[in-house]
Symmetry: C2
Subunit: 391 residues, 2 copies
C-alpha cells in the first residue's frame, strides 16, 4: 500500500514528478523527505531504485504522452532523471499547462550533443574543434579523415544522443581503426571532435532558480575510465583561477540556457591550461554525488529547491576534501548484503547503494569519504568500493 | 502501490521493522535508503510520518502480538520508535525467535522512569535524590511532604511511564500546590525527586553494537521549556572535562544495559558542577537531530548500523557548532507549504519537516544550522523555526 493514495493529514510542501526512477530519482526522493516534498516517479518498472526507496510510482514510459500527463497531474513541477524523453512530448506537456523544469529547450540542449556543441560554439563558449559527419555512409569516413587532416589524429566519434556511461563514444587513433569503427558504420548523425590533450577532467555543479539566483558548488575533478566516471574529488586540484574560470563558464551557461535546478558542466582542462566545455546535463549528475555527504546542501535538495523556485541552500564544503568512488558491477556476482558490513569497517566512508540489479559495468552505488587530504579520501573510498564488489 | 509487495531485482542489504511510524521512523527510513536497508513500520495509521516518506507499512498496533509478529516476519531485526510497547510482548517476540534490539530489558528500562532510576542508583550512577509515592492516595501527599522535608522544596513529580514532551511531569514548589497536583491525585506509582539546581541540561548520544563497540557523539546541550526540548546546541558549552565525564557515564550505561543501537542519556549539570542522570532512551532521540546535518554519520544511520551489528560510522562534528530548534505547532493554523520557502531564505538553515497534522505544541519538524559560533547557529535556526510557524 502506498500512502500517496490515501487521505493525508498534512499536505506535502510540494509534489514533484520525475520522468525516470533511477538512482538520481532515488536520491532526490531521499532529499525530498526532509523538506516534506513528495516525489512521484514515472517508470514501467516498480523495482526501479526510486520506487524501492519509497517514492510514489506512476507506471508508464517516458515516450508515452498519456503516461507523462498522468505523472504531471497534481504535481507542482515535473523534472527529469535522464535525457531520453522526446522533446516534443515535453513541449506538449508545457502546452497543456504543466510546469516542466528544466524547460524542454534546456533539456533537449543537454540531450543532443551535436546541437549542444553547435549552440555552445555559436554563443562563444570554448569547445573542442568538431564537425558533423553522416554515420553509415561512405562519406563518413571521408569527412572524419578530412577533419583529422586538419586537427590531427586521434579523433573522437560520438553518437549525439542516447549514449551514456561510455556507450556511444569512440576514440579513433588512425585511419585503420576508422574503417572498423562501429559508430562510423551506424546510420545517423555523428559528432566528430578533436581529442583534446587533457590535463584534468572537471565538472561544475550549479543550482539555479528560474529568477536567475544561482548557487555554485566547489569545482569537482573527475577520473573517467572507458568513458565512465570512476572517481571524483572535491575541490579539484587546480589553481584557484581555473576554478573561477570554470564557475564563470557554468554561470553564464546556466543563464544562457535559463536553467532551473541543477546544471552540470563537464569541462576539459587542456595541457595548455585552457578550459573547454565537453558535455552538459540539466539535472543532478554523477559528478555531484559527493555533495550529499560533503556539502551543506546536496545537489539533490538544491535541484528540488531550484525547480520549485525556492531559495537555494548553502553549497559550502564541510571538510578539507571529499572523494567519491563509483561502485561498478564487476564481471562476477556480487552480494552487497554480505560485503556492505565489511566496507563499513572504515568509519569514515559513506556508502550509497542504489538497489539496482547487478550487471557488469553498471553503477550499483557510490562511496564518499571526507578527509584532510585528497589522497586519504580517495584511498579510503577506493578500498570500500573494492570491498563492496569483491568476489 | 508499494514496492515491498513486488518482486525485486536487487535484495535489500537488510530489512528492519520499526514499532511505530513517527518522525524517528521517518528519519530512520531516510537514512536506510543510502545503505540499501528496507524499513517497515508498524502503525494503524497509514498517514504517519514514516509511511508518508515511503517506508513500507504493517498495519496494526504496538499492543497486538499478532501485529508485532507480522511486522517481524522477514525482518532481520525489530526496533522501536517509542516506549509504549508492553515489555511482555517484546519478550514473546524474542521467545518466538525474533531479533529485537534494543533488548526488551533495555527497552523496558527506558520505558519506566522509576525502574530506571532505581537501577541507576543501584549501579552507582549519579542521580537526583528520589523516592516512590503511591499516587491517588492520601499517603501520596504525606510521602511527598516527608521527601520535601528531607530534600527541600520544590520537588518534581513524574509519572513513571507514558509521559513525553512534558506530559506527566510537575514541578511542585510548596505544600499548597501539592494539594492541587493532578499527578498526586492520579492512581499509580509516582516518582518523586529533588529539583536539582540546574546549570545546564545535557545529552549524550552513543551508538553501540551488540559486541560492545561504541561511537559517542559530541555532547549536546538542550534547552527545555515546559518539559519539551526546544533547542539544542552541539558541542555543549561546558568544560572539556565535563564532556568527558558525561561520555564516560553514557558508555558505562550503554555497556550496563547491553544496548544495541542508539542510547540517549539526558543529564543535568548542577550548579555545583555535578552530573546527574535524568532520563534514558534506547533509541534515536530528539536531542540528536543535529547529527543529521552536523556529523559525518547521523544518529539514525548509526542506530541502524548498531542494531544490525554493522560497524559504526564516524561521529565527528563537521562544523565548529550546530544548533537545532524544534518546530512546535503554534495555537494558530500553519501553512508549511507557504512558509517553507520563506524559511529557506537563509541558505544556511537545514529544514526537516515530519508531515504531522498540526496540533498546538506538537513537534512538526526541526531546523538545524551549522555556524562558526553557537549564537550565530541558534539565531539562524530560531528565525527559520519562527518563520515556519508564523500566522
Amino acid at each position: 500500500m502506498h500512502a500517496a493514495s490515501l487521505t493525508v493529514d498534512s499536505p506535502p510542501a510540494a509534489t514533484v514528478g520525475i520522468i525516470g526512477a533511477g538512482q538520481l530519482a532515488r536520491m532526490t526522493h531521499q532529499a525530498g523527505i526532509a523538506l516534506g516534498v513528495d516525489v512521484r516517479a514515472l517508470t514501467p518498472r516498480p523495482t526501479d531504485p526510486a520506487v524501492l526507496a519509497g517514492a510514489a510510482v506512476q507506471l508508464g514510459t517516458h515516450d508515452d504522452l498519456d503516461a507523462l500527463a498522468a505523472l504531471a497531474r497534481g504535481c507542482d513541477v515535473v523534472t527529469l532523471d535522464h535525457e531520453h524523453t522526446p522533446p516534443d512530448l515535453l513541449d506538449e506537456l508545457v502546452a497543456a499547462g504543466c510546469c516542466v523544469r528544466p524547460s524542454p529547450a534546456a533539456a533537449s540542449f543537454a540531450s543532443d550533443k551535436l546541437l549542444a556543441r553547435r549552440a555552445l560554439a555559436r554563443a562563444g563558449f570554448p569547445v573542442p574543434a568538431f564537425t558533423e559527419a553522416p554515420g553509415g555512409d561512405p562519406d563518413a569516413i571521408e569527412a572524419v579523415e578530412a577533419f583529422a587532416r586538419q586537427h590531427g589524429w586521434p579523433v573522437v566519434l560520438k553518437a549525439p544522443s542516447g549514449g551514456y556511461d561510455g556507450r556511444g563514444v569512440e576514440l579513433v587513433t588512425h585511419r585503420g581503426e576508422l574503417d572498423a569503427s562501429r559508430l562510423a558504420a551506424t546510420p545517423g548523425r555523428l559528432l566528430v571532435e578533436e581529442a583534446v590533450p587533457i590535463a584534468a577532467e572537471l565538472a561544475v555543479l550549479i543550482a539555479r532558480r528560474p529568477s536567475g539566483w544561482c548557487a555554485t558548488y566547489p569545482l569537482v575533478e573527475t577520473v573517467q575510465r572507458d568513458g565512465i566516471c570512476h572517481e571524483l574529488v572535491m575541490p579539484a586540484r587546480v589553481p584557484t583561477q581555473i576554478a573561477h574560470r570554470a564557475a564563470r563558464i557554468a554561470k553564464s551557461l546556466a543563464d544562457g540556457l535559463d536553467v532551473a535546478g541543477i546544471l552540470a558542466v563537464e569541462l576539459f582542462l587542456t595541457t595548455d591550461d585552457e578550459l573547454v566545455v565537453n558535455e552538459v546535463a540539466t539535472r543532478p549528475h554523477n559528478s555531484g554525488h559527493a555533495t550529499i555527504d560533503a556539502t551543506a546542501t546536496s545537489q539533490f535538495e538544491n535541484h528540488l529547491r531550484g525547480i520549485l523556485d525556492w531559495p537555494l541552500g548553502d553549497t559550502t564544503l564541510l571538510a578539507p576534501t571529499a572523494a567519491t568512488v563509483n561502485v561498478l558491477g564487476p564481471d562476477h556476482p556480487v552480494d552487497l548484503r554480505r560485503s556492505l558490513p565489511v566496507a563499513l569497517e572504515d568509519p569514515r566512508v559513506r556508502v550509497h547503494l542504489y538497489r539496482k540489479a547487478h550487471r557488469p559495468g553498471r553503477k550499483l552505488g557510490h562511496v564518499t569519504c571526507l578527509a584532510p587530504s585528497h589522497d586519504e579520501a580517495l584511498d579510503a573510498a577506493r578500498v570500500a568500493a573494492a570491498v563492496l564488489t569483491a568476489p
